[in-house]
């Protein structure tokens, strides 16, 4: 026996999936011999702590935003640290729900591959690391890279550089070349990261794009639609498995670019008497 049947692609022709049995063997080897209760996600989903209440209006967004700001200030979304004037964000966007009582937000970064971008990047990188390069030439390539990303099917995408792309196996490279996009989202509740979700778009089977209209997380049955001009999002989680799914939750909100974090104090002096 080699696997555990688990998924099928609705609308696909015999596109079904199984988990390799070695995953179960690994779990059998590592189990603690201590029985736990069933997860009962249906019940535990409703037992979360209520948010603190103060003030009126769009307070919930501000609760989520406060949690985000605390983490941001602590450097949770930045690389680099002391010794650098600026730090680079490790995520691109943060998204807040419209729900007035929400204390949840999520961050994301999306990736894809574009051959032209990779080629331009390689030329740009070669120039930028050469001290004798013409600045205007460097800038020309840089602007071209920006244009390629902005005019992509998802304008908030990051395209891989050639070096990043070459880290993937040839099989994975083929998938990227075929147009798959990935979006890694980290979900935070009350300032604590509670889930990481990998969404995909543009996935193709037999030359047919099957995730054409939104980002899909096949594992969590979650769909994420992002309207690129206003960066409005709708995230829909489903449950079920019958002929039709049932929507469990649907949440809308907006996303905004994660700022760079400054490591320097403002160059102003406090006003005195």
């Amino acid at each position: 026996m080699i696997g555990i049947t688990t998924l099928h692609l609705k609308g696909g022709e015999n596109l079904n999936f199984a988990i390799p049995i070695n995953d179960a063997k690994r779990l059998l080897r590592t189990n603690s011999s201590r029985l736990q209760n069933l997860p009962d996600e249906l019940d535990t989903a409703h037992t979360g702590e209520s948010p603190s209440t103060e003030g009126e209006g769009p307070r919930a967004t501000s609760i989520a935003r406060r949690y985000y700001q605390q983490l941001f200030d602590a450097g949770a979304f930045s690389s680099g640290g002391k010794g650098y004037l600026w730090t680079a964000p490790t995520v691109d966007y943060v998204c807040f729900s419209d729900e007035p009582d929400s204390d949840t937000f999520f961050t994301f970064v999306a990736h894809g591959y574009d051959q032209e971008y990779a080629e331009v990047y390689a030329k740009w990188f070669k120039l930028v690391t050469d001290s004798s390069s013409d600045f205007q030439e460097v800038e020309k390539y840089y602007r071209r890279m920006q244009t390629i990303e902005r005019t992509a099917d998802y304008p908030y995408l990051h395209f891989f550089s050639a070096d990043e792309f070459n880290e993937y196996t040839s099989a994975a490279q083929k998938v990227w070349r075929d147009g798959i996009r990935s979006l890694m989202a980290h979900v935070y509740e009350k300032g604590v990261k509670v889930a990481s979700r990998m969404y995909h778009a543009g996935y193709k089977f037999d030359f047919k794009t099957v995730f054409e209209d939104a980002w899909w997380d096949s594992h969590e049955l979650s769909k994420l639609s992002i309207e690129p001009s206003k960066m409005r999002y709708v995230r829909t989680d489903y449950r079920g498995g019958e002929a039709d799914w049932r929507i469990e939750t649907s949440q809308a909100g907006h996303c905004e670019k994660v700022a760079r974090r400054s490591n320097v104090a403002p160059c102003t002096s406090p006003s005195g008497p």
């Binding site: 049947t5 609308g11 995953d23 029985l35 069933l38």
Partner: protein, 195 residues
Amino acid sequence: MKTRFLMCIAQLMSVLVVASTSANAQSAPTIKPQGKDIPTIAKAASGSIVSIVMSDKDGKPIAQGTGFIVSKDGLVVTNYHVIAEGSSAVVKLPDGAFYAVDGVLAFDKVRDVAIIKAHGQNFRILALGNSDRVQVGEEVVAIGNPLSLESTVSNGIVSGIRAVKEDSDKYLQITAPISPGSSGGPLFNITRLAK
């Protein structure tokens, strides 16, 4: 209609199932359906493939999936999503016997694998193969309980082994049909073992 991924979470049951903990399994042979044809595999394995029925706090069945027994004392491998919802569970053997589920021994939510413990002893078990040796093109047989149709056998081939990144976990893409309720069922290969 747009195509969408569907996880085969077990369907709602319309029949109330009453748990029984009678452990009346007979012998405890290890079923190793190697080198056999599909009918032989199906016949040999069916004694170890169970229906898992999840119920809510009120005892009302809310979901059903498939699992298979891997130890004589009742460890059952299934998908995590099969057992994710519901406060109690029973497993049902094809011969009609029911066993209460004592709890979860381990699970991996990301990989969608769970091991639950059925209350009982001396179960018939399935031997686990080595999925690292699976090759694209191998013929496979899936056995499950789609739509509560117990011990449904279907065959196909391994049409791909999917992994997005080099070190990421893999999935076996298969052509053997899967329907709601068959989640968590075993997948056997034929070609390699039939040498």
